[in-house]
Amino acid sequence: MIIVTLRFFAVLREAFGAGIVEVELDAGTTGAELIELLAANNDDFSALQSVVRLAVNDEYVELGTILADKDDISFITPVSGG
């Protein structure tokens, strides 16, 4: 098992009711698998699943990336600042 930190912002922060969550994942879990897991449990996240980008330790990564223990994972929806 690995332990990773999930960071949510804006609409996703509200969807999960928290900005930072620690979760345990099976070793070898990919970004895409993590997204599927979250989407299966949260309708709001599911609605945005197709546009969410994943960042690990503040760098965008491909969804196929295999997650590692202690990864800091951010879920980035389309931005709307300014």
Binding site: V79, S80, G81, G82
Partner: protein
């Protein structure tokens, strides 16, 4: 002195500080864009905009945009300052400013920076309407030029 002043914070610095920084370039031209909470959007009356940011990623992306702007135009000094939290109607959420020797590039670089900020910087806006409702502004990753 570092020619970029980039920050994300609960409060913006005063506009006087922004101009002090830019004018100290001793260039000939300063263009400052500020995004203001607008009263009316699509016929609805706004009371406040609230901003959330992934501060570390957003700051990194803003620095990257500043570097790109500096490679495209002869930038002397540059500010990119964005608020988080609640911004009432008529208040600024963002200052984008560029000092250059001549005026054309100050306009071009400022417009580039606000356009790109709206496309890629990890900040999100929630509209709070006077009727008590609120919603996160829905956007896409499209590179199309947005109009607000």
């Amino acid at each position: 002195m570092e020619p970029f002043w980039i920050d994300i914070a609960e409060e913006l610095p005063s506009i006087v500080e922004v101009y002090s920084f830019l004018n100290a370039s001793q260039g000939g031209a300063v263009c400052v864009f500020s995004g203001i909470t607008r009263l009316e959007t699509n016929g609805r009356t706004t009371e406040t905009l609230s901003y959330d940011a992934h501060k570390t990623m957003a700051l990194k992306e803003m620095k990257r945009l500043a570097e790109v702007a500096s490679s495209k135009w002869p930038v002397l000094r540059l500010v990119m300052l964005h608020r988080t939290g609640s911004v009432r109607v008529g208040e600024a959420s963002v200052y984008i400013g560029v000092a250059t020797a001549h005026r054309g590039p100050s306009f071009e670089a400022s417009e580039f920076l606000i356009d790109e900020l709206k496309k890629s910087v990890q900040i999100w806006k929630k509209e709070g309407f006077q009727d008590g409702t609120s919603e996160w502004v829905s956007t896409t990753w499209s590179d199309e030029k947005k109009t607000d």
